[in-house]
Symmetry: C2
Subunit: 390 residues, 2 copies
């Protein structure tokens, strides 16, 4: 009887640490957003398989994900204002808070301790402890016009800072969150009409916001805040030959070759080339459709592009030095997202309307495998934990 | 009785996956080489603690480490020719092979399936399956002179290629290992006297070898192999004012600012600035001693430098845009290595002769903590799994 009890206690002790999941590394894991069903698929990029699914994440129609610095936890920002902490290893929700009425995205601080959520309703940024999701700060986005604004383009920046844009007010703010109870905020007003997305350069120096209400982009040098925000690239945007914009391009992925950055042109069938030394347009590359994501393949001269409706059945590969499209691929219907493995040997593509994920070998452009997925949108691999901005 | 059996089986099943170790992410782990005792410490960069130790790794007097793409396993290359696969989560050796008489380093293929070991004795490169450590290929390094040469500067490159240098023969070879049974080798002879280390640029394009036997470096453009190896930087090296070289500098870490690379000058108290557009020397920065590692802080304008004996009690921080030393720190005696956390908020420094690791906050240059370590040398964090070259 005593030995029986001992065995039971031992079993419980053993289980405590590992539930029914075996030990495994987290470096080759990722999550795929199944937008219509409020689920996440957990994927393995080594075996190229789906390990499991997590449900109950609410409205994921425009969801984004960041990772804890140990890569065990995914933080999911949903359209319904839900912020959900997911344990990728145990494949279950650890905590879920409805932190606003409508959220557009989020980021994790450089030190990994703070989660920031950018909200439309009510407009502002809320900050949470990454371990407990307890709220530690709230910055309402009240512009110089006295009105509350939607917040977009939220990124993490060096020194536990965050940078974000006020869509309605046309402002860019930086928030130093070293002491979360006492945020140090810098506000830059009149940066341009309707900033719709923002990115930080790979060196952590510049914050760039695309403008939807007018041409051009707004540039903030984080090394020299007193210099303020500059307007650049007046040729960037919808311009005079504007087409209807079915999907806002995303800026987060951009590709680089030397000091040239490759970004989507809003409302045109073009990728723009920007000289990041002068921040002037240095070229334009005609593409199959209106680019949504323009993403550099790691350790490569290739840049991959997907497109907005009605051209969202194709992706194209641009050779950066020659600025030519070298390949057009047709992964399926409703292509929404592409994510590279960190060393760039594979790219995973979500084809929403074909209900599948397609994995390509980037060296040969051949399909390595296809995996079933219900209306997949974003694909997020754990290496994002190391990238500032997210 | 049956329930008793059931409980025992259940306990065994539960244990199978997790031993006595709890589930945890592997994104914030690392290993520290304790060179004199043949041990590895396992460290946690979030809690900044030592989680445990693994012994029995042989002669670690010039050891290096690469990681599996899932970040669970470390492959340790020892001076005694030992290649050891370590399970970081279970903290134990999975497999150990004595694959040569004397090994200088190694790398893992872009797809994570092959481990390559660069050997002095007998000179050459051996390749192993990363899962089983079964040998799958052997490339003896027989130079154009018909003699077997030590191999140095082995890096992984895009397309499951490896690049390495023949120290005695003065050659650079590339090996395409897509089909390990049939390596495709390109040999470049007469590249210069005694190449002693090699690196690949962050875009995966150029392989650079430092020369010990003469001034200058050898540059191979992997995008244009038929162009051959070019000699660059004739001012790089020991030059006429040469000092005794107590420790060979390492090239692997270099810092970047825009298109400028910062590398150690051999035998001088200087860091060289190289213009990577022209591959010409663009400046020189006087330093405290002869630099060994020159490493760029992620998402920052700062570059950190450690030094050879007798100046190995200090590290210096260079501000890259202004090219000035802005800080001199004294972590302890016998500083050998520095490793940044992936988002750059901390740097870990090994002080061998003070038997400790020192962790700095890079924003304030303050010591965050110190951890005991017996004669520590290399510090390797799991984010290296994603970096091509290693």
């Amino acid at each position: 009887m005593r030995s029986n009890l001992f065995v039971i206690l031992f079993a419980l002790f053993a289980l405590q640490g590992c539930a029914t999941q075996p030990l495994r590394g987290t470096g080759d894991l990722g999550v795929v957003v199944e937008r219509d069903s409020g689920k996440l698929q957990i994927v393995d990029t080594t075996a190229r398989t789906i390990l499991g699914e997590i449900s109950g994440l609410g409205d994921l129609s425009h969801a984004t994900v960041v990772f804890s610095r140990d890569q065990r936890y995914a933080y999911v920002f949903g359209r319904d204002g839900g912020l959900t902490k997911v344990d990728i290893l145990r494949r279950r929700i650890v905590k879920r808070v409805l932190q606003s009425g409508n959220s557009i995205g989020g980021a994790i601080s450089q030190d990994g301790r703070l989660i920031a959520a950018a909200n439309y309703t009510p407009g502002g940024v809320k900050f949470f402890r990454s371990d407990t999701l307890a709220q530690v700060a709230d910055i309402p986005a009240i512009g110089a016009d006295g009105k509350r604004s939607k917040v977009v383009g939220l990124v993490s920046a060096p020194g536990d800072r965050f940078v974000f844009s006020l869509y309605n007010a046309g402002e860019i703010w930086t928030a130093d969150m070293k002491a979360p109870a006492h945020p140090v905020i810098h506000k830059f007003t009149g940066v341009g009409k309707e900033p719709y997305d923002g990115i930080i350069t790979p060196d952590g120096r510049y914050y760039l916001a695309g403008l939807f209400g007018e041409d051009g982009m707004a540039l903030l040098d984080l090394w020299h805040l007193p210099n303020g925000v500059k307007r650049i690239l007046n040729g960037y945007g919808k311009g005079s030959r504007r087409l209807p914009v079915y999907k806002m391009p995303h800026l987060e992925g951009w590709g680089f070759y030397k000091h040239y950055a490759f970004v989507p042109a809003v409302g045109h069938h073009e990728v723009l080339v920007i000289d990041t030394d002068t921040w002037r347009q240095a070229g334009v590359i005609p593409t199959y459709g209106q680019p949504v994501f323009v993403v550099g393949q790691p350790y490569s001269r290739h840049i991959w592009v997907d497109f907005a409706f009605p051209d969202n059945g194709a992706i194209q590969v641009i050779d950066a030095p020659t600025r030519r499209v070298i390949r057009t691929l047709k992964p399926g219907k409703g292509v929404l997202f592409l994510e590279f493995t960190p060393r760039g040997e594979n790219v995973w593509v979500s084809a929403r309307d074909s209900n599948k994920l397609v994995v390509y070998d980037t060296a040969t452009f051949r399909r390595v495998t296809e995996l079933p997925s219900h209306k997949p949108s974003g694909i997020f691999f754990t290496p994002r934990a190391y990238k500032l901005g997210w």
